[in-house]
């Protein structure tokens, strides 16, 4: 056993005295991330400055068989950065540099702790941007985006993180440093990068990330459309896609979500009696964008929109977007607690699924606000509850699961961008069969044979395994009964065969 003193000394030798936090009381703030329903104290928090230090930290921990996990800004919504096994947390917050930009070849190399929006801010002056834009982009890091395969509002047209990361320097759980992906064209051999993106920190730690950057579109038009009925808004979404326009984004909020965001610092002033609002953005060449925007407005009208309006200024557009992007946190203004879910459904089943969610809300007595990437069919039901009421937390978790099961039942998935983490680990069983879970464990084994790197996240133990363990426990607990049973069978067996 390695003593805590030994651990702290070794970590300080690698990253420097002031970059190791180990005093119990200073670890509380690292006991959870954006998911607060579970908390656990890490053994220490270590903040390396570069790839070499990360590799050295990981190598030492591997040699001493101490579990560890990476942490970015700690904004994850599924508990991926919670130290369930009393891990050493490797914080990448200090590794926040933009290492290089190559405009001619449309690539940037960043450290994992660089904040998503900071990358865009640093290249925007030259007319470029980084496309994936999770709502937390002003604070979440690109390393965290890689781990979660983060989405965002504009991935309808531009794709999610995995479509924008092309290569990475990657520290395997034994401390070995490898290069995955290829900045241009395809990596030769298996698509290791493809596995790594979205692996929620269970396969290793990316320390240098090469991303695609894009030229900012010449023109953008944003429409805000308010509907009396949710169904009309849903139909509008399908109709727009049906005409052959792929907007950069189509976002939707329902009545309760609108109430919440209108109480925040970003007040739009939604009429209280409308059921749904759509935020639709088209971008591209100026010559054509206007025409697309006109068609979008026309389609809204055909679908009984109450009012539809194109943003007249960048300020107005920014306000609409802030209002949407602050929606999760703003739920704090209408409810003491909430759980945000992240199911995805086929776009064509939107109306039906929303009705089901309404029923679930009615049956459970818990209010559910809906905020979602309507174009992708990615729903974020916000289940409101009060943890001070006994039993309500459990009820909310149950309702969350129910909603996800509805998504899987219509052919969708339990998570579109927030990740499985701890939160949805049991729901994985609803989506995947045992052998499919086994197949994913096999992948983890290839990278992370000792399961030291963020164990207990993303993939549940296979049910079979649980059953075996349970059976073993039952036997152990009832050893007398079972031994008696064995004796009995041993005695009776010959009789029965005779």
């Amino acid at each position: 056993m390695t003593s805590p003193v030994e651990l702290v000394r070794a970590m300080k030798e690698i990253v420097g005295e002031q970059h190791v936090i180990h005093e119990q009381n200073k670890l509380h703030v690292f006991s959870c991330d954006g998911y607060v329903a579970r908390q656990a104290l890490p053994r220490a928090v270590v903040s390396p400055a570069n790839t070499e230090e990360v590799a050295a930290v990981v190598k030492w921990l591997h040699e001493h068989q101490i579990p560890f996990l990476p942490r970015g800004a700690g904004t994850g919504l599924s508990g991926g950065a919670i130290a369930l096994n009393n891990e050493v947390v490797i914080s990448l917050a200090r590794m926040n540099q933009l290492l290089s930009v190559d405009f001619e070849n449309l690539r940037a190399v960043v450290q994992p702790g660089l904040v998503n929006l900071t990358l865009t801010k640093q290249i925007t002056g030259d007319g470029y941007y980084y496309a994936p834009d999770p709502s937390s982009q002003s604070v979440c890091t690109i390393g965290g985006n890689l781990a979660e395969n983060a989405g965002g509002s504009h991935c309808l047209k531009y794709g999610v993180t995995t479509n924008h990361i092309v290569a990475a320097k990657f520290v395997l759980p034994d401390g070995e440093v490898i290069d995955v992906g290829q900045p241009y064209g395809d990596a030769v051999g298996y698509d290791i990068l493809g596995l790594v993106v979205g692996s929620e920190g269970t396969l290793g730690i990316a320390t240098e990330i090469t991303v695609k950057i894009l030229k900012k579109p010449q023109a953008v038009q944003t429409a805000l459309a308010m509907f009396d009925r949710v169904e009309d808004a849903s139909n509008t979404v399908s109709a727009i896609i049906g005409t052959g326009i792929i907007p950069a984004a189509i976002e939707m909020m329902d009545q309760l979500a609108m109430q919440a965001v209108d109480k925040s610092n970003f007040h739009v002033g939604y009429p209280p009696d409308i059921e749904a609002v759509l935020l639709i953005e088209v971008d591209g060449l100026a010559a054509g964008v206007e025409e697309d925007a006109e068609r979008v407005v026309e389609i809204c009208r055909q679908n009984h929109v109450r009012t539809v309006k194109i943003a007249e200024s960048t300020d107005e557009r920014a306000l609409w977007w802030s209002s949407r992007k602050m929606a999760f946190g703003a739920t704090g203004r209408i409810s003491p607690d909430y759980i945000v879910q992240d199911g995805v459904i086929p776009r064509s089943r939107l109306t039906e699924v929303l009705q089901r969610i309404t029923e679930i809300s009615r049956e459970s007595g818990l209010r559910i606000a809906n905020v979602f990437h309507a174009g992708d069919g990615n729903l974020h039901p916000l289940i409101c509850y009060d943890s001070r009421v006994p039993g309500e937390t459990e009820k909310a978790i149950r309702v969350g699961s129910e909603v996800l099961h509805v998504c899987v039942d219509v052919g969708g998935t339990i998570t579109g961008e927030h990740g499985v983490g701890i939160e949805k680990i049991e729901d994985m069983r609803y989506q995947f069969r045992d052998e499919e879970i086994e197949a994913q464990i096999a992948i983890r084994r290839a990278f992370n044979p000792n399961d030291l790197c963020n164990a207990g996240k993303l993939i549940p133990e296979p049910a079979r395994c649980v059953e075996v363990k349970q059976a073993r426990r039952i036997i152990e607990q009832n050893v007398e009964v079972f031994s008696g049973f064995q004796e009995q069978t041993a005695v009776t067996a010959p009789d029965s065969t005779s």
């Binding site: 936090i21 005093e23 009381n25 200073k26 509380h28 703030v29 690292f30 959870c32 991330d33 954006g34 607060v36 903040s47 800004a73 700690g74 904004t75 914080s91 917050a93 200090r94 926040n96 702790g113 904040v115 900071t118 937390s136 002003s138 604070v139 979440c140 109480k263 925040s264 610092n265 602050m326 929606a327 999760f328 946190g329 703003a330 739920t331 704090g332 203004r333 003491p336 607690d337 909430y338």
Partner: protein, 446 residues
């Protein structure tokens, strides 16, 4: 009986570490949903990259201390005092956590638990309790500094190294103390100045302490532009320092004494507004009700008082101001003082005033809402952090600017220090100074 012990243990674990009145309120910290949107706007998190020194972290520490999960020790106190109280987090917080109020009340608890010692203790003993609350002592200090500057004593002191008794940060500050006026505005201005033209209301001019000692001319300029725009200005002699520095330091008891005086003095005048040109004081005056949560009488008086407090830029835009006709041919940039933009949500008004000045070119300051490191007495208590933030602010000020403009004396002192250290040819001005200059020129040009 066997059950009694675990319950006791459980209870003792849940005794709040905040044992004094006026503790951080549960409904304020329980609003935090731990989303982390505040991390990247927090200057101390940007510098330290340690979540203990982030708004979300501090709120969690306060919550855990309140729930008895953490003692009120260094692990809580250090982050709570490293906070600049700049409120940048409040601007981005989707669920509306009042971080500033939580920090200030938590500091109050720390203050009660451990009376300040060391450098913070000296600062508090001498200045926060000894000088600022007392008009006469402030006046004496002002006179002394003026004497010091004019008598040649400054040269002597600098040569003899007598300044080395002061902390390094204070020594640096000494170099940039502006030329002190003969009188503070509160003494120099008449008690009642009638409005020019049609009267739009009566306003008490809050002269403050630092502003009035170091920047008395800004107070005088404020009075002139108010009068110029139809306000009758009152300058009651009995007013005292607002108490913001005491609140930031956790000395809420002293702050309450000062607040009561100001409330009494102002309400007795029956004025429509109280105008203030110092962002930090403005925020504190607007938040007086927070000090009297447990005092029904003064709670109501504080609310009546705060409802009439206006920053000078805010009031000018509210009652309507006349665009000056005097030209100022300069390029300036505007720094958003934390307590104007984050605490009072005043961003457009000062810019509106500046844009109204003919020929004045306003260029935006990148990340203009990031704290300059001044933060009340923070630059004295946390010089390293303050200096790191000042460096960043100085890096951001555009090369083309002739002057950097703001609405807070603390920022003015801090940025003067930055200009001095870098030997930049850059004026540090208050918004009303420029506006006043333009009005003066208009008179001259006519």
């Amino acid at each position: 009986m066997a059950k009694a012990e675990p319950e006791l243990v459980q209870m003792s674990r849940h005794v709040s570490a905040f044992r004094w009145p006026d503790a951080p309120e549960e409904e304020k910290f329980s609003v935090c949903v731990h989303c982390g949107f505040c991390l990247d706007v927090c200057p101390t998190y940007q510098e330290l990259k340690d979540e203990n020194h982030s708004p979300r972290g501090r709120v969690l520490l306060i919550k855990e201390a309140a729930e008895g999960k953490l003692p009120l020790d260094e692990s809580v106190i250090d982050p709570v005092f490293t906070c600049l109280d700049c409120r940048a987090c409040e601007t981005v917080c989707p669920s509306g956590v009042q971080v500033g109020s939580l920090i200030e009340t938590a500091r109050g608890q720390a203050h009660a638990a451990y009376p300040p010692v060391g450098r913070a203790g000296t600062v508090e003993r001498i200045f926060l309790r000894g000088v600022f609350p007392h008009r006469s002592r402030l006046r004496a200090i002002g006179k002394f500094i003026r004497f010091y500057q004019r008598s040649g004593l400054r040269t002597v002191v600098r040569k003899t190294g007598a300044l080395s008794v002061l902390p390094h940060a204070a020594r640096e500050m000494e170099a940039v103390i502006p030329e002190i006026a003969a009188d503070m505005a509160v003494d120099a201005l008449p008690e009642r100045i009638p409005a020019r033209d049609a009267k739009k209301g009566t306003a008490v001019l809050f002269t403050g302490c630092v502003m009035d000692v170091f920047f008395a001319h800004v107070n005088e300029a404020t009075a002139r532009v108010a009068v110029r725009n139809g306000l009758e200005v009152l300058v009651p002699r009995e007013q005292v320092c607002c108490g913001a520095l005491q609140i930031h330091a956790g000395d809420r008891e002293q702050a309450r004494i000062m607040a009561k005086t100001n409330i009494d003095v102002f309400l007795a005048t029956g004025a429509d507004y109280l105008i203030i040109n110092a962002a930090g004081c403005g925020a504190a005056l607007k938040e007086y009700p927070d000090l009297f949560r447990d005092d029904p009488t003064y709670g109501q008086r504080a609310r009546d008082f705060s409802a009439r407090v206006r920053d000078i830029s805010e009031l000018l835009v509210e009652v309507g101001f006349e665009a000056p006709k005097g030209h100022i041919n300069k390029t300036v940039t505007y720094h958003d003082a934390c307590h104007l933009c984050h605490a009072q949500h005043i961003r457009s008004q000062p810019r509106q005033l500046l844009r109204a000045i003919p020929d004045l070119k306003l260029v935006e300051l990148p990340d203009s809402e990031r704290c300059c490191g001044s933060a009340g007495i923070y630059n004295l208590t946390h010089p390293d952090m303050a200096s790191a933030l000042l460096e960043r602010k100085m890096d951001d000020i555009p090369e083309t600017a002739d002057a950097v403009v703001m609405g807070n004396p603390g920022c003015m002192m801090q940025i003067r220090l930055g200009v001095h250290k870098r030997q930049r040819d850059l004026d540090v001005l208050h918004t009303v100074e420029l506006l006043d200059e333009a009005y003066q020129k208009e008179a001259a040009e006519q």
